[in-house]
Symmetry: C2
Subunit: 547 residues, 2 copies
């Protein structure tokens, strides 16, 4: 859709925009910032944006088939304009160059990433949040919101830990307690959890000021360790690499334990790794359990990991960025059994809480753990205050708590349960379809609502089903799947992502390029799933076996 | 404002909401996620939110005088409701409990923090961003947006560094180059800059894999350093404490150099500190210059710091989170001279670019520096791709670039210049008023648009003007100012923040509690500034000298 100036004006019954965009910059700035004049302009923009949004949300395709190079050609200007661009020409180019070629993350046949349609209430709320523009870092810029955020986080904490009413009434609005921290995303949540675990376990004593004030090297010396490690499965999210690098313990000391055929950490290997680290006198900052791997949605056996962590007095962190909300499902919450024993838990609001991008959370069983990272500043963040920024990686941050609070109330436990159950049900449908169709090979039984599979070109279907595939066959199939995924993405009707799995075959580690489906969008029907698979079959039919 | 159900319905000509909130959860979820049914519901919410927003934005007071304990009493529920809450009762309680008692960060007489009225176009844009819900971490979930973000960052880079057209055409859309990273805020920007500096300076060689893979202790051993430090003025933002802690170098090794009377780092002390660190064989990760201290808005002499950094071959980082946009002012950009020599620069979009909360940026002179923190993952973030998440602290993140891109175009250089010039002009007005009024003492001449001063109770005006103030006098004045600031905040008509300055007097370090004004809101007039000062005078008149 492109909007001409005339269309915009006639729709809004407004004078030409050159009447709004003044050449007098003082007058112009006054207009765009004034709540009254602003409202006049804002109504005009509201209409434009509502039309753009509606068109965008109604789109069936995953995205346009515009080539990257063509898009790049639209964004080659490094010079900020001297004069303000007039609103309608800017919004027209925004529409033509950005909105038109953005990904329809809510499209029912875009089932390749952890995005979904969102409930409609988040869009008006986004406007309200921006109008209020609270800064959640401190009470002086976020008065009621600070308490609203604490309440929403306590509600999530309750779902994870199910502690007593007394516990919650004691901690929910106590400025010494931190039940959870709202952050920009799962990466920051994971880093924050490990940071707390590190600082607590290498903390101050009667003759040592703690790692915060003395540093990593001094802490390892003081506690007589050879190094510090974090241990989890080989499928740990790459945010743990960032954390290990950033914290100075090295990515080498992020120890990745092999997984079993179901992509869950091998418990005996984990137990052995922990023992080896202790034998080598390495300090284990945390053991990580994954509730919903990014790759395949599998959930580690959290109860068994909790047991190992407790036996070894080690911090147990659960990365439930994706899978956390499975706790809302009475049918499937057993998969996450043991999460209530975690010392810290990461959950993303922008994944399976169906909230907009930019909402990560980390929760703590011990409400005082986050004191290990507390900082103060004289102009704000005072001791004893309710300033949320004193125990956080981030400083100034938006009032995203509005979305979380609203989501929990307006969707409710029953709504979230339905969303989780439906995602898993449809994933099982897709797995069954893949097993029925000769064109595909299911690469693992789905644990939750992620699914990995691949296309098998006709020539290889027999050897695959007889498990007589050679390494060079596999290479051809890999190349074919990579090209197929890229071509499907480029055409833009439907979308599946891809990943690389390492499987042991013929006594060798063989990389397998896999198609990866994520079924979380409530708008996705069985018919959409069939359509995505059919699209792949049809595209594959047009492709040569090798390139 | 409170909205009754009847008001909402009559305004929208809609059936009672129990017709919308179905008891059948499947049907309910379908309705709230569907773009068509959603639109029906959304229009209803839009009207409510537009009214709430308009009322909020038109508010004259800084905030309501609601007591914290009363607000807390509204947020004591730790149980997510089983059934979805109906929309109008939720929005009514949201209004009564959150919106009503939020801080009017855009009010003309709220001049105590780095918040302001925002241009009206950001509110419709917030809705569009949420409707599009791109995930900027990778091209597969942010196709055109990735390039739009790169363009906006290049525009800012250009303003800072003024490199050649050839440089920009080579790097603006080159996936090997990183001119800047969009992050959630200044803290993450500062951490990212130091992380890059650390990894680059302790990087891989022919026989060492680098700090990322080997860790901090091994890197210090390999390079034969006794420790690693970051050096800057004592007024460095507390995000540097977070960075020093997180990176494992210790907050003790965040070396804070004294400032001069104008709150600028003492250059000879800095030079001496650098020399001392080198003599002690400490690795200097970075020297930090501040362009707009959080406390008082002062700008370090960046040219001189750049010289020291260059002489010592040390990374030069400029924290221009607040003051960066002063580069838009032809009249005042000389204050930031030397910023173009910085290896990295932090600027916040949600401060003086007048964009919503959640927009931080870090820029690099060397487009390849950010490779020092590059990470990959098989399901995404592939080498050679345009995935923005591969060189970033954060992973999934929202399309905040839309605001930055729009702000630069719709406000333009001239608009930003006007905003900066006006802020400084009005701050000078306020400083002059404070000097005229016997009730106040100006604590430092403002460098940009932050101002620190204090109220002097009548009994002390003579000793203050004669500079015969004793330590106990100062203590009484401090207590008075703290109570005055709190009382003013509680009453809620106007707002000034407070900080603590350490001044040398009587050969001792004396803490001085200061009022802190931030003049950035274009809606704030000279009349508003007078009103804030008058409010303080009137409140002070009602207060006993000691408590």
């Amino acid at each position: 859709m492109t909007l001409s100036e005339t269309e915009i004006l006639s729709r809004n019954n407004l004078p030409p925009t050159d009447k709004i965009v003044q050449t007098d910059i003082a007058e112009y700035v006054k207009q765009i910032f004034a709540p009254t004049h602003g409202k006049y302009l804002e109504n005009q923009l509201d209409e434009i944006v509502d039309d753009l949004s509606a068109d965008f949300l109604m789109s069936e395709d995953a995205n346009t088939n515009a080539e990257i190079d063509w898009i790049i050609s639209k964004f080659g200007n490094s010079q900020i304009p001297l004069e303000p661009t007039d609103f309608d020409s800017y919004f027209q180019s925004l529409n033509e160059n950005v909105v038109a070629h953005s990904i329809h993350t809510s499209a029912p046949q875009f089932i390749g990433h952890m995005t979904s349609a969102l409930p409609s209430f988040v869009r008006p709320l986004a406007k309200l949040m921006t109008a209020m523009n609270q800064n959640a870092v401190k009470i002086e810029t976020a008065k009621a919101l600070s308490f609203c955020e604490r309440e929403a986080l306590a509600m999530m904490h309750h779902q994870i830990y199910h502690l007593s009413d007394n516990f919650y009434s004691q901690h929910i609005q106590n400025n010494q307690s931190t039940l959870g921290i709202l952050v920009s995303g799962g990466t920051t949540a994971n880093i924050t959890a490990l940071w707390c675990a590190r600082n607590k376990s290498l903390g101050a004593t009667h003759d040592f000021l703690g790692i915060e004030k003395e540093g990593l090297t001094a802490a390892l010396n003081y506690y007589v360790y050879e190094g510090a490690v974090v241990i989890g499965s080989e499928l740990m999210h790459f945010s743990f690499d960032k954390a290990a690098d950033l914290m100075g313990i090295s990515t080498k000391n992020l120890i990745r334990v092999p997984v079993d055929a179901n992509n869950r950490v091998n418990i005996s290997a984990l137990r052995q790794t922990v023992a080896e680290c202790r034998a080598k006198n390495l300090h284990i900052i945390a053991i990580v359990g994954i509730a919903g791997t990014t790759d395949s949605g599998s959930v580690d056996s959290l109860t068994e990991i909790a047991e190992i962590a407790q036996e070894n007095h080690v911090h147990f962190h659960v990365d439930a960025a994706w899978g956390g909300p499975v706790i809302f499902s009475r049918k499937y919450q057993h998969k996450l059994a043991g999460i209530e024993q975690a010392d810290s838990v990461t959950i993303d609001g922008h994944k399976q809480l169906y909230l907009p991008m930019g909402i990560g959370m980390v929760f703590f069983r011990d409400p005082y753990l986050a004191s290990a990272i507390e900082k103060q500043a004289s102009y704000t963040m005072r001791k004893g205050s309710f300033d949320l920024g004193k125990r956080a990686l981030e400083g100034s941050r938006p009032g995203m708590a509005l979305f979380l609070h609203a989501g929990l109330q307006l969707i409710g436990l029953n709504g979230y349960e339905f969303l989780i159950d439906e995602g898993i049900r449809k994933t099982q449908y897709m797995a069954a379809r893949i097993e029925e169709l000769p064109e595909f090979e299911l690469l693992a039984q789905p644990d939750t609502n992620l699914l990995i599979y691949r296309y098998i070109p006709e020539q290889f279907r027999d050897v695959v089903s007889n498990k007589k595939i050679t390494e060079s066959d596999n290479q051809i199939i890999n190349d074919f799947n990579e090209r197929l995924q890229k071509k499907q993405r480029q055409i833009g009707r439907t979308f599946i992502s891809r990943t690389t799995k390492t499987t042991i075959s013929l006594d060798k580690e063989i990389p397998v390029i896999a198609m990866r489906a994520v079924i979380a969008n409530p708008l996705t029907t069985e018919g959409d799933i069939d359509a995505v698979l059919l699209d792949q079959i049809q595209i594959a039919a047009t492709m040569p076996l090798t390139y």
